[in-house]
């Protein structure tokens, strides 16, 4: 006796390749933003220590090693 196949709705593919590449680019961008807040000392931002000093208190209170 043939097994009764439950009719399941065909789901669209979880994530298309395009979404995956977009997501990868977004993740890189956001990690860079987090890096600027948490670790940068002018090497990436080219602002010297200005951004580093400006966000000094935030870094301490977010729990990132500072100095």
């Amino acid at each position: 006796m043939p097994k009764v196949q439950a009719v399941r709705p065909v789901n669209p593919p979880a994530v298309s390749a395009r979404v995956l590449w977009t997501a990868a680019a977004v993740v890189v961008g956001l990690l860079l933003l987090a890096y600027l807040v948490a670790f940068d000392q002018g090497a990436v931002s080219r602002s010297g220590m200005y951004l580093h000093e400006l966000m000094h208190d935030g870094r301490h209170l977010l729990g990132v090693p500072c100095h």
Binding site: L20, L31, L33, A38, L54, M55, G58, H60, L61, P65
Partner: protein, 262 residues
């Protein structure tokens, strides 16, 4: 009839936008918390740092907080809100991306999936690192070891996330008919195993000077933890709220345009 059978799937862009917005909200909330409860500890620690610098007879003040500093103390207090807001936006976008990519693998409701991811991030990104490398106020920490401490900190963050992931894998590796408590035990066991290995392998760092007031150190660390907990709690709730409005709206739109019985 069964509208639930066909998921209404919002686009990645729509999810990401809500994550970024939720991150901004959560970052401002965390900034408000840090401003209200953390700044006085930072101020007190800086006063100690400067007193020590003057007593040493070293260069008056230091490069961070002296009168001729690059950014004034007032500027740094404003910068605090900027820092938490930007950090919140970054974390919100990362949470939204994780949600968009993992949603179908998390076999639960939309709200529990997003809240669960935020909770997992709080555990892996904040609580696991907090125990190994608790945050330090100004005047604590040797500037010469900053690179080593930064590498160790990033390592423990990665280990925290791996530990959460290992917990999920362990819980799912059991048979489908395994009891719930057994799954929970496997999850906790895998989590603790990864965290313990990380704690043992990474170097211990204790650079608190003997003269630093212990109660101030405690207050600072609690206010720092509170800042991160505010950020992730606010982010999880705001993201889930914005997301549920989005799905409700697209479900309504779908109901209007499509009359195809599912």
């Amino acid at each position: 009839m069964s509208l639930t059978a066909q998921r209404t799937t919002p686009t990645y862009g729509a999810i990401l936008l809500r994550g970024l917005l939720a991150g901004l909200i959560a970052g401002l909330l965390a900034g408000g918390f840090a401003f209200a409860f953390g700044e006085r500890n930072v101020d007190a620690a800086i006063a100690i740092e400067e007193a020590a610098a003057h007593a040493d007879g070293a260069t008056a003040g230091d490069d961070h907080h002296g009168e001729d500093a690059l950014v004034s103390r007032e500027g740094q207090k404003g910068g605090l809100i900027l820092a938490t807001a930007l950090y919140g936006v970054a974390m919100g976008g990362l949470l939204a991306t994780a949600y968009a990519l993992l949603r179908r693998r998390l076999r639960t409701s939309d709200a529990r999936a997003s809240l669960g991811l935020a909770g997992a991030a709080l555990l892996g990104l904040v609580l696991v690192p907090f125990v190994k490398y608790p945050p330090n106020p100004p005047a604590v920490g040797d500037p010469a070891t900053i690179n080593q401490r930064t590498i160790s900190y990033v390592s423990i963050v990665v280990i925290g996330l791996v530990a959460v992931w290992a917990a999920v894998v362990a819980a799912r590796s059991l048979n489908a008919d395994a009891q719930e408590w057994l799954r929970a035990t496997a999850a906790v066991g895998a989590f603790l195993l990864v965290v313990t290995v990380g704690y043992v392998l990474l170097p211990s760092i204790d650079e608190v000077p003997d003269t630093f007031p212990p109660s101030l150190l405690w207050d600072f660390r609690i206010s720092s933890l509170g800042t991160q907990v505010t950020l992730w709690t606010g982010l999880g709730l705001a993201f889930t709220g914005l997301l549920s409005r989005l799905t409700a709206r697209s479900a309504a739109a779908r109901g209007k345009t499509e009359s195809v019985p599912v």
